[in-house]
């Protein structure tokens, strides 16, 4: 029985490894079109920032490791150009044909690019993008940069390029960041960016690259799923354009699973299929796809949409739905925004802002956004766990969270937000 996995980064290698663990007899082949496998693409902005000396530091395992330790064959430079599912056959760019019995599609997503780029224009999605950008930074020593797009990668790259000493202007066509139209959050991020001397241009679509004056133009305007080849072979896609899968990570093609950034997943709060391509989800869906391809019966219940980004030293994290999203998904949201110390003043605690959203009718917690310092990740993870459990505001108010002065205040900021929201909903 031959399992072929297309894609050798997060989802693909999680899938292959899990399949091997559950079925020692499977013949497993991973095809990766690039030359590098198993690297943490989420770390690329930090390679540019200078935290990592080389992309190799972002790499978990080599092809040799997979071959030797897990008996998984890896072929790099192997680009699939067609899927002939009736024949259970892939065609490579080289013309070679590869048979499979079972197929896992883990081809990720690709950066959107401007229609007319020039040699000062970059995107940052793959290891090659990062190497090309790093070479440009070293060879040409640009002094000014335009970052186009205030999403995760845009905000990370603004921070990275400031750390490299460039004068940076951020262009964002919407009036807010991260697709979150929460005024307090926009204000807080803008304040941090401006404090680190980034020029912020909200509600400002970027011009065509050739008309922009900056030495370096970094296009961070989003991505799209690499779903077309499998869609051409008959697999259904969702409204997002990503592959439609069920909770076993199965596509609509029998014997074909999809995982990671090329596939949709189920949103635990809205109950709808969504496309939110993030690394941790790629790992988890890869594991489930791999288990099921190896004959297991595992489910991936879905995501809460949890994310975190560091912007000029500020941690911004969110999970679930904000008020606007909740309304679109048919809820009647109420929200409370509070600001509190992460730790007692005598431990020099910094402020954490929390917005907590719940449904007026059912009192179910729908989501949260937090901005702050060390405590932001822990706080959002508590809400993410509450979302997975469908906790109500009343359950949430009684959560037994850890307290000791060096790390927290006696009343956790999350609980202060919940108390305020409970007064709102009385």
């Amino acid at each position: 029985m031959k399992l072929v996995v297309v894609g050798g980064i997060a989802a693909g290698l999680s899938a292959a490894s899990r399949a091997r663990r559950l079925d020692a007899s499977l013949d497993i082949l991973v095809l990766e079109k690039g030359s590098r496998i198993s690297y943490g693409a989420c770390g690329l902005p930090y390679y540019i920032e200078g935290q990592a000396e080389s992309i190799d530091e972002l790499t978990l395992h080599t092809p040799e490791f997979f071959r030797r330790e897990r008996r998984i064959e890896i072929r790099t430079g192997a680009e699939v150009v067609a899927v002939r599912h009736p024949q259970r056959e892939l065609q490579l760019a080289s013309g070679e044909r590869i048979r499979y019995d079972k197929l896992i599609w883990a081809t990720g997503a690709r950066a959107l690019r401007p229609s007319r780029a020039n040699d000062r224009t970059f995107v940052l999605r793959t290891d090659l993008d990062a190497e090309r950008l790093e070479a440009f930074l070293q060879a040409r020593g640009p002094k000014t940069a335009a970052v186009i797009g205030g999403g995760y990668i845009g905000l990370e790259m603004v921070t990275a390029l400031r750390a490299r000493g460039l004068a940076v202007t951020l262009y964002e066509s919407q009036g807010h960041y991260l697709h979150r139209d929460d005024d307090w959050l926009t204000a807080r991020i803008t304040e941090r960016l401006e404090r680190s001397r980034v020029k912020v241009r909200l509600r400002t679509p970027a011009g065509a690259p050739e008309q922009m004056g900056e030495d370096l133009i970094l296009w961070c305007a989003g991505a799209q799923p690499n779903a077309e080849l499998l869609a051409d072979a008959g697999a259904a896609t969702g409204r997002s354009g990503a592959l439609a899968v069920n909770d076993r990570c199965e596509t609509t093609l029998h014997g074909v699973w999809a995982a990671g950034d090329c596939a949709e997943t189920h949103h635990l709060v809205s109950g709808r299929p969504v496309w939110i391509p993030l690394g941790a989800t790629a790992n988890k869906t890869g594991r489930v796809a791999g288990a099921n391809a190896a004959g297991g019966r595992e489910r991936f219940p879905g995501i809460a949409g949890t994310s975190i980004v560091r912007v000029a030293g500020l941690a911004v994290a969110s999970t679930g739905l904000n008020s606007a999203q909740a309304r679109m998904d048919g809820f009647r949201p109420a929200s409370a925004v509070i600001e509190a110390q992460e730790r007692p003043r005598y431990f020099r605690g910094r402020k954490l802002q929390v917005e907590l959203v719940a449904d007026r009718g059912t009192r179910r917690i729908l989501g949260a956004t937090v901005a702050g310092d060390e405590g932001a990740r822990g706080a959002i993870n508590v809400v993410a766990t509450a979302l997975a459990s469908r906790l109500t505001l009343d359950d949430f108010l009684s959560l037994d969270l850890a307290y000791t002065p060096p790390y927290s205040t006696v009343m956790d900021p999350l609980l202060i937000a919940a108390q305020q929201l409970a007064r709102e909903l009385r």
Copy 2:
């Protein structure tokens, strides 16, 4: 209608404030036997450590604040010596009698003391204890200290006294710390203590204070609930000696509630009444007692037993049951202990150790213990939230936790522990 609250620290003032918020017409009086109210007793070790310049920095509000802003009368130096519930009357040490219609008992706990103390022997529970200890440190400049007891306060005070430059020996009669007989945890704490040059004497009961050679003897051998006066008036106590309450924080006396360290509470995992006196619980049970005394109908569902302590720079946190406790409570526990980076190596992440415990039969998560750095609190809070929701290991494996390299690894240490435990339970 007159509500009297006995105790003016965490639970008592939370109760009084909540009652006022829900009923503007109540006549509210708080009786505090000490001279200071509303201070964070959990901060006292950090006052000794030197983080706070004075105990006033640990104080949230003054009696004037409560009078002016909340119309709550506070009397300090008012020690209740008898409760005559049939007459709805308290007797003070001064002989004065005070009538009540409703009563909230929030008298906290007191430190256990050695049977024969001397003037070098201290406990640390109240503001007065801390002032007395600080005065001794300043006046007598002790060079050596014995800390008796490796519980929370003992470990905090070892750290504090080392920060003050004393040579410290820790005596603990059991073979482990914090009543957690988990070998990996004992080893990690011992390593940290010894690295900060604390002499550790496990399985070593302290001698009588007069026979100990150290300049300063700090007795941190536990506490007991201040429940006797109300018990003498007829209120039931549990096996722990603390006041028995239902989920409305009502005692067995009609019209009398109890909250904070003097009362038991319900353990969410074992389902049993427990006495785990901690500050965050005092605040929450105080709020519920206050709401119900003011005519509300609120529930306190219970605690997960979540706690955290900083030991010589190491964060140690736990929630729920460890394996030994789980067995005693009738579960069939399985556990996995893992060690992982809190953040990628290129962000200089330190190691986090996690032990996760689940029941073999139901696969329900029963508890966790973690030791590490900044991420420890966030991690234990995720498990505490999972316990409140009765999540199974399978739910837990899919939790959508936030990932970005500056703050975390792509596979959260909690999920690595859950994966290992799932292999164990297959």
